[in-house]
Amino acid sequence: MPKTLAEKVYEAHVVRSTAGEPDLLYIDLHLVHEVTSPQAFDGLRVAGRTVRRPDLTMATEDHNVPTLDILAPIADPISRAQVEALRKNAAEFGIRLAPMGDRDQGIVHVIGPQLGLTQPGMTIVCGDSHTSTHGAFGALAFGIGTSEVEHVLATQTLPQYAPKQMSVTVDGELAPGVSAKDIILAVIAQIGTNGAAGHVIEYRGSAIEALSMEARMTICNMSIEAGAKAGLIAPDRTTFDFLQGRPHAPQGADWDAAVEYWSTLRTDEGAVFDAEVVLDAATLTPFVTWGTNPGQGLPISERVPDPAQIADEGERRAAEQALAYMGLTPGTPLTEIEVDTVFLGSCTNGRIEDLRVAADLLRGKRIDPSTRMLVVPGSVGVKSQAEAEGLDQVFIDAGAEWRGAGCSMCLGMNPDQLKPGERSASTSNRNFQGRQGKGGRTHLVSPSVAAATALTGRLTAPADLIGA
């Protein structure tokens, strides 16, 4: 029977399958960070269990880490205690940890691919919903809760039911200034914030194949914002080229064996998807969100929607609540919305290519004097690479702040937060109420829209800068 890519990867990891019970799925790589793991390690200790495969487990510090003075102790005692708990747990259970200051430290979803630990055909989990990022390599990668983190630590497996299959096909060519972020924001606006619940999304089509690995990661990263279990893309030459030579990528004869296997990881002709979505890349323009979930987005040339025009009562109420929180008036052109802060970073858009795109727009210019711009590389590796290319200086010369690596203002667990009522254009993945700081208002954008917005102080498409 023809199979989808996701089905192939899933089936290759079934340890045990019995009618009336979930399958037991083997996990090839378990990524760990400080926020969702302490209770899981405690659970192991209470039950007298060990970590079954420390060699398939990797931990990093990312959510709480300050992006200034990273070598000083964390000022917030509760954040510090959480990071210290991870250090203690990693030492006690023999797990590799990339602590603050380490060359491998960074956002968990940035370092996996960077180290070459993320490879096609693997199963990857992390106590973090954006684990879907790793699907860009053709891995089945998904977020889990803390009880499941404990389960994987103890057994290297998870009880699972086979997910349903959804295809999102994007054919055609993107216009200049339109990026992977715009594709995924458009997809989520179309299917809704939980529209892919129960499904794994496979992204396919010529527009997807043309994307770099960084751009593919941006798309897969936000699969969870459509409610999908995971998002993945079939591995190809772009994937192999990205991986070759990375520290943990196979070498020599192993490399050849791996590539031979990876090349079989494609959806068979005639495989059936439970749901299909089709998008034409050529019709896409830069997208921004106006509301308080990632499905509430529109092309930047549009206006703030009018809830009175929404027929469905639930959706109308949701739109009213969102606009009240966002402090927006129906009918306002999106490009007239002024922002206080621009955040460039996160596991969605904190990789080297994202920084290059933004730096290209900022080079030799100054950002709007009333706007603050924070540039936070996704990892120490990205930071060093950007500095080697001189991008840090481009940002600093433009008036932006160049910071250390971490999650930062994506969720404001460290001091990088919006103040109540402040508005941001953010390259992160969630515009939920209070996500970037209590009372903060978030518009999700691509890196190029972020840079253009920093220059003008209001939501701006890069194409509109020409002649400005």
Binding site: D76, N194, G227, A258
Partner: protein
Amino acid sequence: MDAFITHTGTVAPLRRSAVDTDQIIPAEYLKRITRTGFEDGLFVAWRTNEPDFVLNKPEYSDASILVAGPDFGTGSSREHAVWALKDGGFRVVISSRFADIFKNNSTKAGLLTVVLPQAEVEALWAAAEADPTTQVTVDLQAKLVTYGDTTVPFDADDYTRWRLLEGLDDVGLTERHLDDVEAFEGRRPAWLPKALPALPA
């Protein structure tokens, strides 16, 4: 894990859709390393900023069944959202659609999530708004929600239902099959990556 067999209590009608886990408990409350004590973070922004928020109304302060709009629990995988609901006195959440990770987490921590059609959700909202003391019984054994003269059946997959009824934890169940896990490990290709030791960049 706490077993769940049947529960009777009153309803808090939460007329909101796509309630994400950042609303259920914001990130600043996730810095703790304990598994309990999260009630102070439960819906804290809405409780603080919106006097009319349902849980600010005294008549709903003892509710143990939360009835919410569609797509409850979207966003972050934080199991703290489930812990906060439990710490805040809830045993059941009813919605027409849940986010997968939230639903999964709830089954690991003994919080029952019940999917009912939106029309039944609306009927429960109406009943709880007309009379906040309305007693609602959620019976997992019989797979029924009952209140007044109304009885609504719900679906629960047999395996998860059995685990919840017995209060069984997954790790113990999986440990019965460690020989299968070992056999699987023997078949894994040798070139698959290992995080240890750290290799030079």
